[in-house]
């Protein structure tokens, strides 16, 4: 482990220097600036119900994506979102820990469970892994219902506050997200990340050149579940109230959709996906009345055609993206950049001649 750590630090320095010189730097700077300024332009409701969840899901989707880097996939990531949420809230309520501390311990707890589950999963491939992770999320719901007298998860309970809701909570989330995503970025660019990618590309070959597959897969699992737990702790605070419904498969599929639609195995993919899906979920209901007027008579069995139509479109969207844009929306970014920088480039080649 220590040698991996020094390796990591060495590559971090180099990576930061390179990053500073690339034009990505200004892009990121711009995104951070927008993230810092936008709450002032938005109403209290938008900050609390749209922007904050968007940032939290960025952490969550990125954590899922980190796992995908190492060639693993999870259909039960909601287990860790829920464990992080329940653990941080319960630590604060039952033991009186300060909520910030609870957040950290909750994430560590999630990573601990992740380690145990990861130990089972390192030997499993693609759909076996998908099934087992899904299975664990079902088992955890059963256990929480079984020990309801201690946990109180079936009815749920209000979560304690770290910090005042609204702008302060938004900025706390923003800072934590920036740190988490930065750490994940550096990790992916480091030798550890290289090992992850090697395992994903070709496991037998990775093994042949001396990569300890089990170690790196487990590392990816633990780190991913740590960040999922962190997202869970924040999520529990942002929705004010935690309940077993947080383990719903919907929350397991959400980070997957965000990562895939945005661009799997890219740093910006899950962030783009989170912006798209949270925006869709927060605003698309406004056209429900119009849809009901247009389509209502066609489907007399439902009182409101809006929600099922929205979910159906989301599923269709995912299928279409996988088929026609397998690298996600982020693969369009270089094309857009090319389009805008076409003229200066032409000018340059002219000079060269």
């Amino acid at each position: 482990m220590p040698e991996m750590f020094t390796q990591l630090l060495g590559s971090v320095e180099k990576e930061l220097l390179e990053f500073r010189q690339s034009d990505k730097f200004y892009f990121v700077l711009g995104a951070v600036a927008i993230g810092l300024v936008i709450p002032f332009a938005a109403s209290e409701y938008v900050v609390g119900e749209v922007l904050t969840p968007m940032i939290i899901f960025m952490i969550y989707a990125s954590s899922w994506n980190l796992l995908a880097y190492s060639g693993q996939g999870s259909l039960g990531h909601a287990a860790f979102l829920g464990i992080g949420g329940f653990a941080s809230a319960l630590l604060a309520i039952k033991l009186g820990l300060p909520p910030v501390f609870g957040l950290l311990v909750g994430s560590l707890f999630s990573a601990g469970i992740g380690l145990l589950i990861g130990l089972v999963c390192v030997r499993l491939k693609a759909w076996f892994l998908a099934m087992v992770t899904f299975g664990f999320s079902v088992i955890i719901v059963t256990l929480i219902s079984q020990f309801d007298s201690v946990i109180g998860g079936v009815m749920g309970f209000p979560t304690p506050l770290i910090i005042e809701r609204g702008l302060p909570f938004y900025y706390l989330t923003f800072v934590l997200a920036a740190i988490s995503i930065g750490v994940m970025y550096l990790l992916i660019k480091s030798k550890t990340g290289l090992a992850f990618r090697a395992i994903h590309e070709n496991e037998p070959e990775a093994k042949m050149i001396g990569i300890n597959i089990a170690k790196y897969k487990l590392l990816a699992f633990v780190l991913s579940t740590f960040f999922a737990g962190l997202a869970g702790g924040l999520f529990a605070q942002s929705i004010r109230y935690i309940q077993v419904s947080v383990f719903d498969p919907y929350y397991s599929f959400l980070p997957l959709m965000m990562a895939v639609i945005g661009g799997l195995r890219t740093i910006e993919g899950p962030l783009i996906g989170s912006v798209i899906i949270v925006t869709i979920n927060s605003y698309l209901y406004k056209i429900d009345d119009v849809l009901q007027g247009l389509m209502g008579p066609l489907f007399p069995n439902v009182s409101n055609v809006g929600p099922p139509l929205r979910m159906l479109s989301l599923g269709l969207f995912l299928v279409l993206v996988v088929i026609f844009l397998p690298k996600g929306i982020s693969s369009l970014l270089p094309k857009i950049r090319e389009y805008f920088s076409e003229k200066p480039k032409k000018a340059k080649t002219h000079e060269g001649k």
Binding site: W127, F128, M131, G135, V138, T142, N301, P326
Partner: protein, 288 residues
């Protein structure tokens, strides 16, 4: 005691539905090396098709099984052509993503078409049964078991005695070699997927006859079918039959002795224990 015997019969009947579903998944996996996580949603759509056939068209509940199978075969052809064929051979995760998207499409299409209230297919045999002492062995469940047995025998003959069955078995062993031997693999793939979907349709019609259903019921049967395939070993049909029966019985016994909330967790606990000991399943030779 009579309660236990009735429970066992329910377990075997449920197990039979899972066997049909698992066999469909298993054939598709064996031939195409494709995993369709939306397979349970095909079961759900099949149940609705049978429901419409019995209530709107006035068909007998058991004849509606054939309607459901035909309808699902058509949907299966469309699915294979439009979605799965395009991602076959790319990253394995892409198949999982496509089928997850299809789950949303099917479930919400069903909500739109039929609403989300619980329904059950009206069945002439409901409530009647063989009375032995205090035990009531429902005819509906006994007939369901016989139907599944008949379908499995027909499937076995199809696979072992017909030309298309031979082509399917050849493709499942070495797809490239069978292509060289003149097998039209694309046709085999379409047929296989349609067959798997038809089996899911039959499973759905039986589900709708025995149990109430709504658009969200598909997810758990998929998972259970997977558990059965993993218990029985990938690609092995007899393995799936044994796995399915064991599974159906284990599940109903868990509910009988431990209570309803354990129904699903027990299944996964079993699955995870098996996979920890043997990552390729109980009877599986070689996982991919």
């Amino acid at each position: 005691m009579s309660g236990l015997i009735e429970t066992l019969l329910w377990g075997v009947a449920n197990g039979c539905i899972y066997i049909l579903l698992a066999t469909g998944l298993n054939i598709i996996f064996g031939v195409m090396k494709l995993v369709n996580f939306a397979h349970g949603q095909l079961l759900m759509i099949g149940a609705y098709v049978a429901f419409v056939a019995t209530t709107a068209l006035g068909l007998n509940a058991y004849l509606s099984i054939l309607v459901a199978m035909a309808a699902m075969a058509v949907i299966g052809v469309a699915l294979e052509r439009l979605t799965f064929r395009r991602v076959l051979g790319t990253d394995k995760l892409n198949e999982i993503f496509v089928s997850l998207g299809l789950i949303y499409v099917f479930e919400n299409a069903a909500v739109l078409l039929w609403g989300n209230k619980w329904k059950q297919i009206p069945n002439p045999l409901q409530g009647e049964g063989l009375v032995i002492g205090e035990t009531l062995l429902g005819y509906d469940r006994l007939v369901a078991i016989l139907i599944v047995a008949a379908i499995l025998i027909a499937l076995f003959i199809l696979l072992k005695k017909t030309k298309i069955g031979l082509a399917m078995r050849a493709t499942s062993q070495r797809s490239e070699t069978s292509m060289l031997m003149g097998v039209n693999i694309e046709k085999v793939y379409v047929f296989t997927f349609a067959l798997g979907a038809a089996l899911a349709g039959a499973a759905g019609a039986l589900y709708g006859i025995l149990l109430p259903f709504e658009p969200g019921i598909g997810a758990l049967p998929t998972i259970k079918a997977f558990a059965i395939i993993m218990l029985g070993g990938l690609g092995s049909i007899p393995g799936a039959v044994v796995g399915g029966l064991l599974y159906g019985i284990a599940e109903t016994l868990a509910v009988y002795f431990l209570g309803g909330i354990w129904q699903d967790a027990i299944a996964f606990a079993l699955l995870i224990i098996v996979l920890v000991i043997k990552p390729t399943g109980l009877f599986g030779e070689k996982g991919e």
